[in-house]
Amino acid sequence: MNIFKELWKQGKLASKRNPMFDKSKTAKIWIYIGVAFWAGYLIFLGVMLGVALRGEHVYRSQLFGTLVLIPFIMVIDFLMRFPFQQTPTQEVKPYLLLPVHKQRIIDFLLIRSGLDTFNLFWFFFFIPFGCVTVVGYFGILSLISYLLCIWILILINNYWHLLCRTLMNENLVWLLLPILFYGGIISLIFIPKKFPAANILLNIGEGYLNFNLLYIIPTIGIGVLLWIICSKLMKKLVYKEINRVDDTKIKHLSEYQFLDRYGLLGEFFRLELKMLFRNRATKMSMRVIFICVIAFCGVMSFTPVYNDAFGKFFVTTYAFCAVGVTLLQRIMAFEGNYIDGLMVRKECILTLLKAKYNLATLFVILPFCLLIPAIIKAKITLLFVVSVASFCSGFVYFLLFQLAVYNTETVPLNTKIAARQSTSSMQKVITFAALLFPMGIYPIMEWACGQKIGDSILLFIGLAFILTSNIWLRNIYQRFMARRYKNMEDFRDSRNNE
């Protein structure tokens, strides 16, 4: 029996027989629309950037322009993987008792991760970009070589992400690793006088374009090295995870007594806080996202890295949306663990949704405070920050809350190794939309109406959704209740399969 083939088949079956699959049929249409939109957007960006560089007609500046984008794309790619990718240590649990060496299973999961189509998504940008910039000067063979190297770099980023993510699951201090790595590379690009980063990039770029094995083999070597490190480390950590000691005694139980005055809403708010802070799955994702937000806001406020218009908008939007996505992407999936208990109590779910909305809206305060230095330093305006905060708490949360109706897979609360937690198509679509819609719509609005009017439109759209939140939350509740039997059954099934 070919174990790789069997596990590959099981991976496919796991997705196909996922309780979310039924809904995925509808969601698939949306995912195709979403993918088409972003593919189109990336193609457009690739062509436009390529054309802009082509106009310069200077060989070395064009070459540099072609390469200097890569580190930034790697950062975005690294961040995008958080909501969409699971690490093999999280996926390996169902296979632990198989009579197969664990190392082989981990290796397979690593290979599967490398072959994921997610790693090809950036080609929507690089193919048109390469066609415009590379082909004209260097020829079609150089383009093929260039794209091959880009794919290797994306694979390296994939394994680098898995490595960092695995280490961060053990100790959050490891978050410094990607921050220092990407921060270091980007800083080197911005201080060309002190360090010959530009020349190094140019040499590497030329090597890639000319299919120079002196450059390509070390690149592949880095990928292989990362793969080996991931494989060995994950095997070690799987054992550590199995021997984990649980939290048998709690020193201090937080009561959040100030919430007593808010009645039932306060009670569910308290439940939400306890869920976030007492479970490994939620606690870890909150920590990671807060550290990322703090890092991004700090870099924008105190360094020139994000001084361009898109950079500022990217950081501000990311700071607000990422917290919401982290809190709400798996909305109701954690409650799947005790959904029966909630459902035998009247209108519990509606109050729960309201508490979740209030909490998520309150969390907006954090990125807002973190962006104050950037406002003081006049890098961004107060109106802009308020607008993005409002748009996020209104429209983006409205989008994310729709998942309360469609999430039907219970997510274990207190384990790092989870039974295969796939991200459903609907989750992907809505998360993609929540993260990227503001980033897509804002430049268009700014271009069409100017900055102040664009900001004001965002502000009013957000406010409209915030002020009508009770209405759309009730609508979500009614839709949830209308499909409650299906959802409860799926929650129960996925809970029992843990």
Partner: protein, 234 residues
């Protein structure tokens, strides 16, 4: 009164529940017995609107449970771990459950005193989250939380499971007392015939989703018939 009308639930080809008509009077204590797969838990889930019936309905005080949520105010239930919020301590879970029914912390503390013996010093004040308790203690927490708001209808699935003999005896007395003092309708399912016969004046025997016997149990009169059905030999 709880009324089951024309209730059918199928899982694929298999019929899990098929009950034409069945009534449970107010204040009655009913034991539901049957072999594995007889449909006891499915029937409970249907009665609690946790499953969709293919046909028919269950009404509590005339209210179709699938059409309104009003019955939830006066019903308490515990079926399995899916009713427990395991990242809370037992005290927090009791306060949370109680507050959903409008009880104050003081009310809840007062009501918990009734269960002190049942908890045998192992539930309250342990500074532990529910997930770190044994199966038996989780069972106790679930049962207590279902009873805290003094529901008029109490539904418990296998309440004797995981409990030590002393606790089994205690829960029998607690349920009997609760039924008498509150005139509440109590429905329990169990594989333990002795316990069921001891406390339930009425027993329904379920087989392949059908109630094949509706037994009146006075002075353990149903015991012989049940033993014959389950082929229990002395």
């Amino acid at each position: 009164m709880i009324e089951i009308n024309n209730l059918i639930k199928n899982f694929g080809e298999k019929t899990a529940v098929n009950i034409e008509h069945f009534q449970i009077q107010d204040g009655q204590m009913l034991g539901l017995v049957g072999n594995n797969g007889a449909g006891k838990t499915t029937l409970f889930r249907l009665a609690l609107d946790l499953l969709e019936a293919d046909q028919g309905n269950v009404t509590i005080e005339g209210v179709d449970v699938s059409k309104s949520e009003e019955w939830k105010k006066t019903t308490g239930a515990f079926i399995d771990d899916g009713f427990l919020i395991d990242y809370l301590s037992p005290e927090e879970f009791f306060y949370f459950s109680g507050r959903l029914y409008g009880l104050s912390k003081e009310d809840i503390d007062e009501r918990l005193k009734e269960f002190e013996h049942f908890m045998s010093g192992e539930v309250i004040g342990q500074k532990k989250l529910i997930r770190n308790y044994s199966a038996g203690n989780k069972q106790k927490i679930g049962i207590i939380s279902a009873m805290l708001h003094y529901p008029q209808v109490l539904i418990l699935d296998e309440p004797f499971n995981f409990l030590d003999p002393t606790s089994q005896s205690l829960i029998k007395h607690l349920l009997k007392k609760y039924n008498e003092e509150h005139q509440a309708t109590v429905i329990i399912s169990s594989h333990n015939l002795n316990h069921t016969v001891d406390i339930c004046p009425k027993i329904a025997l379920l087989e392949k989703g059908i109630i094949i016997k509706d037994l009146v149990n006075e002075n353990n009169s149903a015991e012989k018939e049940l033993e014959e059905y389950f082929n229990v030999e002395e």
